[in-house]
């Protein structure tokens, strides 16, 4: 699971949960794979990203990447920033670990890079 995917996952499908976002991440195994850099693509994706959630994920994982505290229009044109975003969003992979609902603490295991978001019948909202 890449961090771009984490940025789109929520536990809002659980009964009683309103936002369920961002999910906390606990990683037991991570990988770094390189992905071809496409400036135009990453520049178009950035406005779709919940930046604070991404920073929280970087923090959860203890990644040594410096993301400025706030995003800005000028930053979105900055090559250095775009390259960091490319790396953070697309190159880190959580292989084993879990996602944790911020409201209920419900854990969703990640195995072989696949988050398991299936619910029991009784949990469905």
């Amino acid at each position: 699971m890449k961090l771009i995917t984490h940025n789109m996952l929520t536990s809002n499908i659980l009964k009683g949960v309103t936002r369920g976002f961002p999910l906390k991440i606990k990683a037991d195994k991570m990988e770094h794979i390189s992905v071809d850099y496409n400036r135009d693509f990453i520049a178009r994706i950035i406005p779709r990203i919940e930046y604070d959630a991404l920073r929280a994920a970087v923090n959860d994982l203890g990644l040594n990447e410096s993301l400025p505290e706030a995003m800005s229009e000028t930053l979105q044109q900055d090559d250095e920033f775009l390259k960091t975003m490319h790396k953070v969003l697309l190159e880190y992979e959580v292989e084993e670990g879990e996602l944790i609902c911020p409201e209920t603490g419900r854990k969703f295991p990640i195995s072989k890079g696949i988050p398991n978001m299936l619910l029991q019948e009784t949990e469905v909202s």
Binding site: M1, T10, N12, D40, F41, K112
Partner: protein, 254 residues
């Protein structure tokens, strides 16, 4: 496969429906994952056309992505897949696709998120109309206003305007046709490569073990439109038959 020896019937409750789908859809796809994947590698051209209609940097979700055969059509859009079969998702991971395990009736993503959704050959595995409606509502929820979805399902009619689909012209069999016992709502076993006798049936997966039966609800003409009519915020853009499948493209309106 199925542990029970009594014939299967149409679900009478939500629990029945879950059990039928668990036994005759989800378990089956996990069992046949590799075999299925080896026979499903050719993308359908009209699905590819739909994916090509999005602009660079679009976010697209493939609901019921299977082995991910639509996930690398373009490298300038962000494509994520979800499916209920862990076996098929593992195949996606071997190909470095981004996926998560979830049910299409409860997709764990925010409302108004995606520019596009595809849901190809998935809804015909859901065994009640109420649940098929839930799945379509979920697709509408996650689309952003202005976003578009393509949904395709297997058609009950395998012959349109005197033209037989590939499904029934390929390796046509001359097997006995099963018919339904009207009084019990029993699910009949469909004879592969023949016209469908009933909208709800069990379709044998020939290899590797012949006993594997997949549940299908095959759709009649305009059935997708009828279900979509129950959902506000939907504008139908196009609907068509594509070689034995009913297909619909719709937009979420604000």
């Amino acid at each position: 496969m199925s542990s029970s020896s009594r014939p299967l019937t149409l679900p009478k409750s939500e629990l029945d429906a879950c059990q039928l789908e668990q036994e005759h859809v989800h378990k089956v796809y996990n069992e046949i994952a590799h075999n299925f994947s080896n026979t499903r590698y050719k993308p359908w051209p009209r699905v590819v056309d739909f994916l090509c209609s999005f602009s660079n940097g679009s976010l697209i979700l493939d609901v019921g992505c299977g082995n991910g055969k639509y996930m690398n059509i373009r490298n300038d859009i962000m494509m994520i897949g979800c499916d209920r079969s862990e076996g098929l998702l593992k195949i996606c991971r071997d190909r470095y696709f981004e996926v998560f395990l979830s049910d299409c009736m409860n997709i764990p993503v925010p409302t108004n998120m995606f520019d596009g959704v595809i849901c190809i050959a998935v809804l015909h595995h859901i065994s009640t109309e109420a649940r098929r409606l839930l799945a379509l509502k979920e697709i509408v929820r996650i689309l952003k206003p202005g976003g578009q979805a393509l949904v395709t399902v297997w058609a009950k009619e395998q012959e349109i305007d005197n033209k037989k689909s590939t499904y029934i012209t390929k390796n046509a069999k001359t097997c006995p046709i099963h018919t339904k016992n009207e009084t019990t709502n029993e699910l009949i076993i469909h004879t592969p490569r023949t016209e469908f006798q009933q909208p709800d049936c069990l379709v044998p997966w020939a290899k590797p073990t012949e006993k594997v039966l997949r549940y299908y609800h095959v759709f009649i003409k305009n059935e997708l439109e009828h279900i979509l009519n129950h959902i506000s915020q939907v504008k139908i853009i196009n609907s068509y038959n594509d070689d034995g499948n009913w297909c619909i493209i719709f937009m979420k309106i604000a």
